[in-house]
Symmetry: C2
Subunit: 425 residues, 2 copies
């Protein structure tokens, strides 16, 4: 067990800087030895966060290979844009260093297989930093499911329900050095391009890759109207953005069927006006359910929860996961998120690196979740024809070893005597 | 224009009696001359409602053909169970009498075509009594859409989200003369068997069969666990109901693609515990949206609605449809539904019969909505393969005459100066 680790950090865009500022800069057992970006200015901004946290100045590199050559480095964070990330991650694995990748899709299925192959060849662990797996709601539900309180899980749904036109895609578009990379994806492709925030927690709830697997996917895109309409209304009907043809449908619904017969519904919803962010998280079991948009947790055996649309806050407190309790007790600082999801997911990675164990969200999870992008694109292009989901574990899902038994693992029953007793049926 | 009409009424089950009691018994321009049912007892119970309303005693018949032979009869209500209803409806049309059918699916696509063919041969109008088209929320949204306030409609969703195990399917199962007919359907079939409560209003919102049409459908069923689990827990693990194998998946999601590129998501959700009824009604446009489960109406041009999760009540009042206003002013009695949906849909039919005009929900609508049952069954049986949606209008959807211009029509812009002005963009 290492007391401290040295890391390299690739990608200092908005998201990359946020993780540095809110998480790594505050961790006394993590030394950021290198940061890497094409932009000197972005590296300076990132460094300011580290220095403010009392850390030493990291070395700046524009070629990440320099990081990989340093034998002192234990782990590397890959926080670049969607494309190219798998390629860098594979080089990191080949250099024998733990690798953490930011969430997102693969461009191609081949990339997903290559990640798995590289892991199996090198034995170097990869973790996807899917912060939403550590969300307060998601962890409470996982807790409830692992205790059997929802019964058998039959269906689960979620979405990335986040209006991006004004706050992200076209923000400062007239002055931006380069347009947001998502615009290019939306112009050129029609797919479920951002599934992991919802799919990650649902996959954990359904034991995907650990006793269950996703076997089939179908995906459907509505017409594409929201980007053009927004651009015409706000950037001018003659602007290049209003005249661009976008392939990306505004609402993409994807249905995944699992080996055990459970179904998963995912929704991408980012380019039509909506008033609030949601991950639309829902779990349906034979004995209970939860549903984010209804603010409800419900147990069939507890009739007193029946009319409690709006009881979610109470239930999340009653069934709060120990990690969330610990986080809340330790700090009120959650970075961008009040429930500390960035902090927790980074801790999960750091603890795995220190202990030399497998991370709780591993290369098989990452490959499967990232594969939704190219698979959905195939299905949409064929009017929603079902597409087989590759088994990236090559059969091992049926009897896989659990993740390392540290407290950040997402696969084990949480023992906590303070939890309420099993509801009656 | 007739001042009064004489009707025959076939089917005096729970739903049939409710419509008699809450609607027809109170309409002074409708004389129920016949009622028909296999059970004398049910006819007596139905009659009690009519007599209580001051009406004359109807004639009892067990063979509905007697009704069809009476030249005095203007219209016939067909309120029997799901199966066999189209057959009776066709006989009514051939007898030259307006026919109203209760909501539900066709068993087969052939039945849907036969309904359309019979209408085209006879010229006798049919109306499906889809009460939810007249719901307060649905009518307010229709009002907003027709005024253009949501912009272009891109996606719509809804569901029949109603836990039926305890309240309907297995209620009094030990003492019931015959089990609820839905149990047999759930044992023998796996399909979206009850789409019209949500699809009806969504189809009206999207101008289906009047400028737009449904071109393709895919349907996905989760495993089937809820019925067996409920029966084992409540009726005994050794009961016949716990030992029955049910084909019906607990959650069925169906995606329909329209000619204009809009998509519709339907969900059947009746056999897993859930704490409240919802139709999950949602409309997504380029300039606004509404969402039942979020209790929200949102207009992009009105930033003050942005954080108003929970503003639905206010917005439904502001944009209330004239029919709902009129209903609320006239009565506080809404039958089973506070917003008078049964009353309004029955009035829509009665007014069409009196005026000799086309009803607002006609045979093409009914055929298309009822076709979801057999089409979804086909798709589910093929792992969600897309199935072409027949064009029951045979091309006429591109340029169909609007429904008759009575105030119950669902296809025209509602002129009402008391409505709020168009939100700014």
């Amino acid at each position: 067990m290492k007391q401290t680790i040295k890391v390299g950090y690739i990608g200092c865009g908005r998201r990359g800087r946020s993780i540095l500022k809110e998480c790594l800069a505050k961790m006394r057992d993590v030394e950021v030895k290198y940061i890497c970006d094409a932009s000197q200015q972005r590296m300076e901004r990132a460094t300011a966060h580290l220095l403010a946290g009392g850390a030493a100045r990291p070395q700046f590199v524009t070629d990440y290979h320099e990081i990989l050559r340093d034998p002192e480095i234990d782990a590397v964070f890959v926080m670049t844009g969607w494309s190219g990330r798998p390629q860098i991650a594979m080089e990191v694995m080949r250099a024998g260093k733990y690798v953490a990748i930011e969430v997102g899709c693969a461009d191609t299925l081949e990339e997903c297989f290559a990640l798995v192959d590289t892991y199996e060849e090198t034995g170097t662990p990869l973790m996807m930093l899917e912060n939403c797996c550590y969300g307060r709601r998601e962890l409470a539900a996982l807790n409830i499911i692992k205790k059997g309180l929802f019964g058998e899980v039959v269906h689960a749904s979620g979405g990335y329900l986040h209006y991006l036109n004004e706050g992200e895609l076209f923000r400062d578009i007239d002055t931006a050095e380069i347009p947001h990379y998502r615009i290019g994806h939306y112009r050129d492709r029609n797919r479920e391009s951002y599934p992991t925030h919802e799919l990650g927690p649902l996959a954990k709830a359904l034991d995907i890759n650990r006793g269950n697997r996703m076997v089939r996917l179908s995906s459907f895109a509505s017409k594409s109207c929201g980007l053009k309409q927004y651009a015409a209304d706000h950037l001018g009907a003659d602007s290049v953005w209003a005249k661009t043809e976008y392939k990306q449908g505004d609402i993409v619904n994807t249905i995944i069927t699992c080996a055990d017969g459970a179904t998963i519904l995912l929704t991408l919803d980012t380019t039509l006006p909506r008033p609030y962010y949601s991950r639309g998280f829902s779990i349906r079991g034979t004995k209970g359910m939860c549903y984010e948009d209804g603010n409800v947790f419900y147990f069939a055996g507890m009739p007193e929860t029946r009319q409690n649309k709006g009881n979610e806050g109470d239930m999340m407190e009653q069934y709060e996961h120990p990690l969330q309790k610990e986080y809340r007790a330790a700090t009120q600082e959650g970075g961008a998120h009040a429930d500390g999801i960035d902090w927790l997911v980074c801790r999960a990675f750091v603890e795995s690196v220190k202990a030399g164990t497998l991370p709780p969200i591993d290369v098989y999870d990452a490959a499967a979740w990232m594969a939704v992008g190219p698979l959905s694109e195939q299905s949409i292009a064929q009017n929603g024809a079902p597409v087989d989901f590759p088994d990236f574990t090559r059969g091992k899902w049926q009897n896989r070893e659990p993740a390392a038994e540290n407290k950040y693992a997402l696969h084990t029953v949480i023992e906590d005597d303070s939890m309420p007793i099993f509801p009656k049926i």
